[in-house]
């Protein structure tokens, strides 16, 4: 029972960042129909941006998070402008191939810049765990969870309460009608990709200090983001949030009770099972955004 509580708490911390990853991808995948295999690379980018800000520039933690978000948004916007906009209207497979190219290029670019050795990212919080009854948790993990929840909340506000968010939801429901009503599809796509990439970078900056930063860390992150999207349904923010938390907890329980070697297999099994049994996602009423 005590270990169960401990696993649940750990899973929640992990799940919060998975939710961030998933929300970014579900917007990109749902709204732009881009199967973004480079999503995990923005996560890596965020982790290295945090490393640069914390270890090299000595900035405070929140500034490092903001730096990672800015780096993700900037590179995401650039990627959309240079590669995705010229290919708009091409088949989903063509665009997927381009994103696979981006993925390989970004990952090896990071390998060239930072080297292959895993880097531990320093953080200003005490390392002694806080003990609350049966559960022990490092202060860093609490901060990570709080910041992740804050970011999820702001993503939700952006999509539901702003003009841009309304344009995004309209584009998702019916692109042509939205365009006829004066929504600039190009601008919505650019904003969506930049925003989704920024969220992935934020997840990297948050989870990077908990674990380590290394160039191929994005591969698993991409797959986890896809499992979250599939779990939650395409374009479904609430689904992605719950899906992320569920995946984090499921992984933690799988690692704790089955075998730690199979931790990452949990995500794969979830993808297969959900796609087979309920392809529209666990929480889908219908395909929608918001």
């Amino acid at each position: 029972m005590e270990t169960l509580l401990q696993h649940l708490v750990n899973g929640l911390v992990l799940g919060g960042t998975y939710a961030l990853l998933g929300i970014g991808l579900t917007l990109i995948f749902g709204l732009m129909s881009v199967v973004n295999f480079a999503h995990g690379e923005f996560y890596t980018l965020g982790a290295y941006a945090a490393f640069a800000a914390l270890a090299l520039a000595g900035l405070p933690f929140v500034a490092a998070l903001l730096a990672a978000i800015a780096a993700g948004a900037l590179l995401g916007a650039l990627c959309e402008r240079a590669l995705l906009r010229p290919l708009r209207g091409h088949s989903i497979d063509t665009i997927m191939l381009v994103m696979i190219g981006v993925w390989i290029a970004m990952q090896n670019g990071e390998l060239l810049v930072w080297g292959g050795v895993a880097k531990s990212i320093p953080h200003p919080f005490p390392t002694a765990p806080l003990v609350m009854g049966p559960v022990a948790i490092a202060p860093l993990r609490i901060i990570v969870l709080v910041l992740a929840v804050g970011l999820i909340g702001s993503a939700w506000l952006l999509v539901h309460q702003t003009k841009l968010g309304r344009a995004m939801r309209a584009t998702f429901q019916d692109r042509d009608t939205a365009a006829l009503m004066g929504v600039s599809i190009g601008r919505v796509h650019a904003a969506t990709f930049a925003f989704g990439s920024a969220l992935a970078a934020a997840a990297g900056a948050l989870l990077g200090p908990v674990f380590l930063a290394y160039p191929s860390m994005g591969d698993l992150a991409s797959l986890k983001a896809f499992s979250v999207v599939i779990l939650g349904g395409l374009g479904n923010l609430t689904g992605a949030t719950i899906g992320g938390l569920l995946l984090g907890i499921a992984e933690e329980l799988g690692a704790g009770y089955i075998s730690s070697g199979y931790r990452d297999a949990v995500g794969f099994v979830i993808i297969i099972a959900v796609l087979l049994l309920r392809p529209s996602g666990l929480f889908a009423r219908q395909e929608r955004i918001g």
Binding site: L97, L223, Y262
Partner: protein
């Protein structure tokens, strides 16, 4: 003219070990042959039915492990082990084909990736069977009757035969009613179904043949490198296959072969000029450039420019002078 060209090519391939005796070049030729089998295999699914499998390394790895384990632990000889590798990979293809009947496009891709992910984790964690990350050293070289196919020259001919077999199987399949059903499925699934093409049946068939062929490639790889580890499930194998098929020309028979030779030889040639990381970086950029500038692949582009009346891509217009 074409017949002459083909005859010359066949003669060149058959005599290759005599004029290219350097073992290093022969090694590249063997690897190109193994990748040609894999590229032909992926091309059946991606090029003809239009379904991208990003889990092809799984079938390759299943073939490699099956063959290695049967020859090492049960001391089977190479040929039955090869047959078992092909059969087991084909069975895995059947499983994935049946599983993902209703899934298309991105969802099919995700199921195949996840399948490869699970298999790869099993190969790392099921240590009693696979020896875990340490892998299985000492996979025996194949034998043909009294002769051992240990030398590079002998192995080259074995791989060449496998490429020829895969090519002929692909060609017969694609040229038949079945192949036309594949293409119909790729071009317009609803229409194909409405005129009586059993979509399920043909998709599963394509997956089985494709996976079995990848299993053949895996077995050849295992007995050539004489060592199998979970690295055979690496995603970079799948990426290499995809690049070969897309660059060569998906949906053509010559395309994957051209792609396999080019993208086995090119990295080797670049090895002197640039480190491995730069090479992979170049691979990624190359894939992007290919999609932008050579979307149909090398072979269709060359054929179009030689046949005198280039077929322009749909929607593109020749600019007015």
């Amino acid at each position: 003219m074409m017949a002459l060209g083909r005859g010359l090519l066949a003669a060149a391939l058959l005599t290759l070990p005599f004029w290219l005796a350097d073992p290093y070049y022969l090694h590249i030729a063997i690897m190109a042959g193994i990748f040609a089998v894999l590229a032909l295999s992926l091309n059946l699914l991606l090029g003809y039915t239009g379904q991208l499998s990003l889990g092809h390394a799984a079938f390759f790895g299943i073939g490699a492990y099956t063959s290695a384990l049967l020859t090492l632990t049960l001391e089977w000889s190479f040929w039955p082990a090869l047959a078992a590798a092909i059969a087991l990979a084909g069975a895995a293809g059947w499983f994935i084909g049946r599983l993902s009947l209703k899934l298309r496009g991105a969802y099919f891709v995700l199921v195949t990736i996840s399948f490869a992910g699970v298999i790869s984790q099993v190969s790392v964690n099921w240590i009693e069977l696979t020896n875990g990350p340490l892998g299985l050293p000492g996979v025996p070289a194949p034998e043909l009757g009294p002769w051992s196919l240990r030398t590079k020259t002998a192995y080259y001919y074995l791989v060449l035969a496998a490429v020829a077999l895969s090519y002929v199987v692909s060609r017969r399949l694609v040229g038949s009613r079945i192949g036309r059903a594949f293409v119909a499925l790729r071009e317009n699934e609803a229409l194909a179904e409405s005129i009586g093409v059993d979509v399920t049946h043909y998709l599963v068939l394509a997956a089985v043949v494709s996976a079995a062929m990848a299993g053949l490639g895996g077995s050849l790889y295992a007995h050539y490198t004489r060592f199998v580890s979970p690295e055979v499930f690496l995603f970079s194998y799948t990426v290499t296959m995809v690049i070969m098929v897309v660059a060569g020309g998906k949906g053509t028979l010559a395309g994957p072969l051209v792609g396999a030779v080019l993208f086995t030889a090119l990295p080797e040639a670049l090895r002197l000029a640039a480190s491995w990381q730069w090479q992979m970086l170049a691979y990624g950029l190359l894939l992007i450039l290919l999609v932008f500038f050579l979307p149909r692949g090398i072979v269709p582009q060359v054929v179009a420019s030689f046949s005198g009346h280039p077929r322009s891509a749909p929607g593109s217009k020749t600019p007015l002078q």
